[in-house]
Amino acid sequence: MKGLLVKDFKLLKLQRNSIFYILIIFFGMAMLSSNVSSSLSFFTFVFSLFPLNSVSYDEFDNGNAFLFSLPITRTGYVIEKYCFALIINSISWAFATTLVMVIAYLKGTNNLYDIFVMALALIPVVLITISVMFPFQLKFGGDKGRVAIICTFGLVFLVVIALVKISELFHIDIVSIFNNLPVLNLSTFFVLVYIVAFVMLFISIKISMIIMNKKEF
């Protein structure tokens, strides 16, 4: 697995120009915006998409056929991809959070506690993003994967609209149901969201393993 990780970091190095421009935008946003939290969300979310590119690099020019002839297993490949994503996202999250907190402290604009809470809230968002995107990327590849994700989100959107319409027909007020849900305190909410994110990540890894074990090259 270490060999694959080294390969993916070498390939990530090729995207240094894009990373550089993202860093410039992030830094500009953090310096110029009165609310530095938005730059933190931007940077963390955009960076969460970088590890997905490694799948596209692998399949470019039928590269997967050679890759899976090397001493790796398909399961090991999936685990490596998620580890790579987690490493990249941990580093980018830690970097962005530290930088944003330093800038906020110097500017004296945002409450540092609020920024930290915001940063903690981003972690499950990133985990869920990875969990949703990787199976699509592995199943359909780079370009088709993006189309498949857009189609899936469109489908989910249509289902939600359909549910709202159906509930209206039966005179069910969904908004009031949500309003009447028991109010959770922040830490309970965080624990629940983290649990959901990690469960989704676990399910995503399992699905990706099934996808890769069925693939032919």
């Binding site: 270490k2 060999g3 590269g63 056929a65 050679f66 001493p71």
Partner: protein, 282 residues
């Protein structure tokens, strides 16, 4: 070393059904036209495709039970696949060091220098010959017991091909148990390297023979209509209508030299034998 028994793979317009064996210390050639089933056989051996029947055993172990350590003992060259073209040799050295416990970095670097391969240039910008040399170097640099080489000579000029064959000969000399399975659609590329040949056509093995036997006992008889009519056809494997009469493939050259001194008997190279085996009539 490698044993394939009734390997089956079915596609919409193509079915593979073949058996073959690569013995320790042997260089075995798999030859056939484009689309004959060579790459499908290789993919099945490497576990890149699922199989519909039969068995593949490598190092006396079923392919299903293959683990990372077993795969380290195989060196691979695939004609249409390799490391990402965006990487450089400098990039892939730490990758190989971490993938293979026995990666011989010193040997690898010596060979890179010997073949003047640029270490800082992206692989996608290499010439065809340079790409193949790099692929073969990767395959032979981690003390593999078995090399599986799919069309490594494709697109190479004569000099590059000879250099490649020399690399493979040196690999074979290192250990008497080293074996190679190599495919090509141009068998003369492999005539001087292989100990035996399997010929594949439309997914089936149609001939298996030692190279010595192929070159010494197989021959093409060129006969006119009258000679053909009186020819003993017991040892004729294939025949083909020609403008001058018939060309016939035999695996008993000496029999016809002794009994038909008046007919033209050509030794023929392996490519001609393949053409007759595939295009000739039984």
């Amino acid at each position: 070393m490698l044993k394939i028994e009734n390997l089956q793979k079915n596609y919409k317009n193509f079915s593979l059904n073949c058996s073959m064996e690569i013995k320790p210390g042997y260089v075995t050639g798999l030859i056939g036209q484009n689309g004959a089933g060579k790459s499908t056989t290789f993919k099945a051996i490497l576990g890149l495709i699922s199989i519909d029947g039969g068995m593949v055993r490598v190092f006396d172990k079923d392919l299903k039970d293959f683990n990372v350590e077993d795969k380290e003992k195989i060196g691979i060259v695939l004609s249409d696949s390799g490391f990402s073209g965006y990487l450089t040799i400098k990039d892939i050295i730490p990758v190989l060091s971490n993938l293979y416990k026995c990666f011989d970095k010193e040997f690898f670097m010596d060979q890179i220098r010997k073949f003047k391969l640029p270490i800082d240039k992206k692989i996608k910008d290499f010439s065809t010959g340079m790409k193949v040399k790099l692929k073969v170097l990767i395959a032979i640099s981690h003390n593999a017991d078995l090399l599986i080489l799919d069309e490594p000579t494709a697109g190479l000029d004569v000099l590059a091909r000879d250099e490649l064959l020399e690399m493979l000969r040196e690999y074979m000399e290192k250990d008497e148990r080293h074996s190679i399975l190599i495919s090509s659609h141009i068998s003369s590329d492999l005539e001087t390297l292989c100990d035996d040949f399997y010929m594949i056509d439309e997914g089936k093995i149609i001939l298996h023979e030692d190279t010595d036997v192929l070159l010494s006992e197989y021959a093409l008889l060129k006969v006119d209509e009258k000679q053909y009519a009186s020819l003993d056809k017991e040892y004729i494997i294939r025949f083909k209508k020609e403008s001058y009469g018939y060309s016939c493939l035999t695996n008993q050259k000496q029999y016809y030299i002794d009994n038909n001194p008046d007919i033209i008997i050509e030794k023929g190279n392996i490519d001609e034998l393949i053409t007759m085996m595939i295009k000739g009539n039984k």
